[in-house]
Amino acid sequence: MTTLDAEVLVIGSGAGGAVTAATLARAGRRVVVVEEGPWVDPDALEPFSLEEMVAKYRHRGLSAALGSPTIAYAEGRCVGGSTEINSGLWHRLPPYLADEWRHTYRIDEFSPETLDRYAEGVERELSVSRVPGAPPPSSAVLERGATKLGWRNVEFSRVFRYDTNGRGVKQTMTRTLLPSALDAGASLIADCSVTRLLRKGDRIIGARCRRRHAGGAVEHITIHADHVLQRSGVRHGVGAGLKLHPTIKIAARFPQPLDHDGVPMHRITEFAPNLTIGGSASRRGHVAMALAESAGDYRDALDNWEHVLVYYAAIRSDAGGRVMAVPGARAPLVTYRLTEADMSRLARGLVHLGEVLLAAGATELYPSVADGLVARRTEDLVAWWDAVTRRRTNLMTVHMTSTVRMGEEQSRTGADSFGRVWGFRNLRVNDASLLPDAPGVNPQSATMTIAARNVAHFLAEA
């Protein structure tokens, strides 16, 4: 049995863990990062490919939150976490949400100005920027459709660095903060799962791993670590407040072929924050799956898959879910129950998405609704209002948050304003679990900003 000593043990190497590890290592702390997934060369696999799903996704991308309807979800399970597999879109936490969360959960030092200061630091380090030149046609579709309808739309920045030829490389954690942490002296153990935190009174004194023991104070838990928390007897406010963005999709066929390599960077914000419209990965395999979700004969569309792209409408949900440990199982049980208002928002989202795609020139729309009518004209969209039911709708999500909410309101949170888990002196959470609610957009920016703020507070306090 191997025993390791660490001053700070960071469990998980995704957006929150990487910020934590890099900042602490640069400050001279002895940091060990444990990651249950493998190290995968960030240049080795094509983004969104089958090979990438096999190598980097938890359960090869085949997970689901049980409920009515069931919601499929995907998350990273590799060094760098979901930053290795996401679209790299960067949305700062909107000021009104920061204010709302600060008041509702009584979060200290959570003003928009404070958060912006930390966001700027992270953005500099990750080279957050806009795509140089004109956006690709897949993204221009959204801009064109929204402009025709008079709807607000935004081209979002991405976590991409561009060379002089305009070629962009996503600045994942394995390309940025994790090498920086290692250069500053941190250690990283991949393929290593934490099975239990070792507790002594109100302190965590170490963690038992599947492959090795590591000793030291625990400072970070990922969403999957809720599982660890519950198995370790930490339950207060943990795992019960799961939030996510349910997403409904359309495979849209256009008269001309379009690009399929990336994810559109435009988002339609006319109905934000409760409803956001954007584009998804649209490789040939994704197009085939999306076309098959609806009722129509999709063979001709599939034969011309270069003309088809997948777009989505994502909602902020009123509902909540749970992440629970299952005795004897490695995977936790995840549940989520949509409200009637959520279902109504999804129907509205599908119709608005259809409107904008038709306005942009799409000729056929295949909704992710079983037996859903293929729409060719705006009039066809009327039928979709009644088609979005719990039985027929196929939903998915990629953003899971809020299982250890932060704030001083102890009855509604699992950790204090800076991520310290209630009842423990040295156990902290520093990832998307802390967000009090799903922000309505990709949470990577909010997660990294809050993590940077929390780790700065930790260093100032120590």
Binding site: R60, L62, P69, R283, G285, M289, V326, A331
Partner: protein, 108 residues
Amino acid sequence: MLWFERQVVTTLTANLDEGLRAEVEAYVDETLRAMPEHLRAGMAAESVALGAWTRVRGGAGRSAPGASLDRLESSRLDPVRQYVRLLRSLVLFAEHELGHRPAQVVAT
């Protein structure tokens, strides 16, 4: 894969050439193994139940799942429809990703 799962996947891949079909089946098999335990257990139970039902309906050994796939896809029971949908999605994704990879250049 369990017997009935293999029957369904074989039906869905019937039009593929042998090499690609083997690749797709291997992908589906590995992906089902990677599912969360509780989801896999539920699916396995469904496979056993549907397999038994199919044999009873068609007579043991006489009814291929292909004949009943349409019936299952239009079932009034959500889990049954989702069962077929899941396997169909896995097959479609693998078929279109594995079957259209760019040709490899081999230096000799």
